[in-house]
């Protein structure tokens, strides 16, 4: 009895509204809202029905399903495509190992990849691209994720090894993809043949990994008390930011070639990567600089007062706080970099979007099917951009961007 009295005495928190109440509150709360609901609900339903009917009845998805390898790797020679497969598998394996070690978001990504591979391997349709070999390869990748996961769980696997692995694997993969002169097993495959998602990923991942440290260096350089360093950083940042990415791409692709002797010509994919990297670095630098300025002076004084050197203060106190503060902006920068890689099409590199365009242009029949191609490409871009912003949110939560002062 006593306990029920206590329960009656305390005020309970308001309950969430029921469905009917929710509808009344949100859709029919006034004459104006009721009118809007009556007009908009059927319109939305109509648009939905039309879109769904188009997607499943009128649309011709063959323009997407006929060329899976073209979208994936462009003109990369089909006889050598196993090299791309091994490169991908290496990365998939590393992903599995990292999942086993650290879990978190890596778990979601690994499981997502595993599911995609498994579904493709078991897809009950006849498709020339999905022969037995391809299905076995896809299943092997699922297995690799699991093996990687188990390998990551064992005690001997230290975080340091995995990071070294992540440093080596991409280099191995790129060497494998480009091949060696005078080698009959893995002959050279020129980057003119590379294309599709492969190129998009190479440019984005390379751009992100290279531009971030360069951006930090530029941000520190701009704040440096050494006039030469500070002037160089400022001029670099302001020049790059004052010029459109297309111009920088042209500069690196065409003008750079004019200045260098023809025998030391840099590969065109590398030139595009340099352009994207420097462009993104200039923006990252300004983001990081904003974060550095947001760190209160008292933090630096406190670090000085306990005897820390300037370098220690930067690495242990200022930089972690600055990066934490601007993490959302930096990830935003990476998402735009990912999408900006589509501009390389103008210097003749067939990235994912470029392949889509060349497929459309290859056949008058396909000209009618532009919507299908662009929609497919948009969805793929959206998935990866969404993954990045999800990763950003997870990292923000883990680092307590909003909760810790």
């Amino acid at each position: 009895m006593a306990t029920t009295e206590v329960v009656q005495g305390t005020k309970r928190p308001p309950q969430p509204p029921g469905l009917i109440k929710w509808i009344r509150d949100n859709l029919f709360s006034s004459w104006g809202n009721t009118l809007l609901t009556i007009v908009l609900l059927p319109s939305i339903a109509y648009i939905l029905i039309i879109s769904i009917r188009w997607m499943f009845v009128s649309a011709d998805w063959r323009v997407v399903t006929q060329f899976p390898l073209l979208y994936a790797v462009g003109q990369y020679p089909r006889d050598e495509i196993w090299r791309v497969g091994i490169g991908l598998s290496l990365i998939i394996f590393m992903l599995g190992v990292s999942w086993g070690k650290w879990g978190g978001l890596l778990r979601s990504i690994s499981i997502a990849f595993g599911l995609v591979f498994a579904v493709l391997a078991l897809l009950p349709v006849q498709h020339p691209g999905l022969d037995l070999g391809m299905r076995l390869y896809l299943s092997a990748n699922v297995l690799l994720i699991v093996i990687g996961y188990l390998a990551g769980r064992i005690q001997v696997m230290k975080g340091g090894y995995i990071i070294i692995g992540w440093a080596i694997v991409p280099i191995l993969a790129i060497l494998l993809l480009s091949g060696f002169a005078n080698n009959s097993t893995i002959p050279v495959v020129g980057t003119t043949l590379w294309g599709g998602l492969l190129v998009t990923f190479l440019l984005s991942a390379g751009g992100i990994l290279l531009s971030f440290p360069i951006g930090i260096a530029l941000a520190l350089g701009r704040r440096s008390s050494l006039p030469v360093v500070s002037a160089f950083s400022t001029i670099f940042i302001e020049t790059i930011r004052g010029v459109p990415l297309i111009t920088i791409l042209f500069m690196f692709s065409i003008i750079l070639a004019l200045f260098l002797p023809s025998e030391s010509r840099i590969d065109r994919l590398v030139r595009a990567l340099m352009a994207i990297t420097f462009f993104s670095a200039a923006y990252s630098a300004e983001n990081v600089r904003g974060g550095l300025q947001a760190v209160p002076l008292g933090q630096i004084e406190a670090a000085k007062a306990v005897g820390m050197s300037k370098f220690q203060t930067m690495i242990l106190i200022t930089m972690p706080q600055a990066l934490r503060a601007v993490l959302p902006a930096i990830v935003g920068q990476f998402i735009s970099l990912f999408k900006d890689t589509t501009l390389v099409v103008i210097v003749g590199i067939n990235d994912f979007l470029g392949i889509g365009r060349s497929i459309i242009n290859s056949d008058p029949e396909f000209m009618q099917l532009q919507i299908e191609v662009y929609l497919f490409i948009a969805v793929i871009y959206w998935i990866f951009c969404y993954l990045m912003s999800m990763a950003s949110r997870r990292m923000e939560a883990a680092m307590g961007v909003s909760t810790r002062l």
Binding site: P296, G298, Q299, E301, A302, A303, K304, A305, V306, G307, M308, S309, Q312, L316, I317, P320, Q321, R324, M399, G400, T403, R404, L405
Partner: protein
């Protein structure tokens, strides 16, 4: 009160400091002996915080000499870092590192500056947290602590470097009244343990309880100094009298 006959640990002669054209310190002379507790007080803008901050080079003085623990404070970075290792500082705004846990805040400098092994640093940090009365907060982040707890962590962080001198720059001014006592208790315990302390504060109860000498600052100069007894009961200067009457009225 008996004058301490210990060696001089801080010696300042004619210390002057300008901010632009404004002269914040107009020639400060002070000698602090080992184990002494010195309270510095005065109206805002009198240069008391600026002075205490010149002692570990958070502010650079432009004239005069400062010798801390036998090391001359000059442009030599090695000397500055040596002096900072020997002096702990507690700030008005606590200035804890928000991205590190309480324990990490305390162990950071011992590990990176004193190069202690992590285990030793953590053991010492836990002892210090016991001493300031909040060992149970070790794994929390500063933002989850009250102001009084944060300031006690800040004291523990400064003590972790095993300094010979502790500088306090208005340690209770940013605290809610009910939290001032918990911080002052820690400081009184520290004073009684024989630590050399320079404290900029208006907490006259603290001064009465543990100060060996008091300095009244105004307009960048030491107007008057003496034992708490002399300052409270027999101030010589009108400005001291006026200021004391203002802060002691309530």
């Amino acid at each position: 009160m008996i004058e301490p006959i210990n060696e001089v640990i801080i010696s300042c002669k004619n210390v002057q400091k300008w901010f632009g054209d404004f002269q914040a310190l107009q020639g400060i002379d002070m000698e602090v002996h080992k184990g002494e507790v010195v309270v510095i007080f005065g109206p805002s803008g009198s240069g008391k915080s600026t002075f205490i901050r010149t002692l570990n080079r958070l502010e650079e003085h432009q004239e005069g000499d400062i010798i801390v623990d036998g090391i001359e404070l000059s442009h030599d970075v090695r000397n500055i870092e040596k002096i900072r290792m020997e002096t702990g500082m507690v700030f008005q705004q606590f200035n804890l590192f928000p991205h590190l846990s309480v324990l990490q805040n305390i162990t950071l400098a011992p590990i990176w500056v004193r190069k202690w092994p992590k285990e030793k640093a953590e053991e010492t940090a836990m002892e210090l947290l016991e001493r300031v009365g909040i060992p149970e907060q070790a794994q929390k982040f500063p933002a989850n602590l009250s102001g009084g707890q944060q300031q006690r962590v800040a004291i523990a962080r400064a003590l972790a470097m095993q300094p010979k001198i502790m500088l306090f720059d208005e340690p209770t001014s940013a605290l809610d009244p009910e939290m001032i006592k918990e911080v002052l208790d820690v400081m009184i315990e520290l004073a009684q343990s024989g630590m050399t302390m320079l404290v900029v504060t208006h907490e006259m109860g603290f001064a009465r309880a543990v100060a060996d000498r008091m300095y009244f600052f105004d307009e960048g100069l030491i107007v008057e100094s003496g034992t708490p007894k002399e300052i409270f009961h027999n101030p010589q200067e009108d400005r001291t009298k006026l200021f004391l009457s203002q802060i002691l009225q309530h």
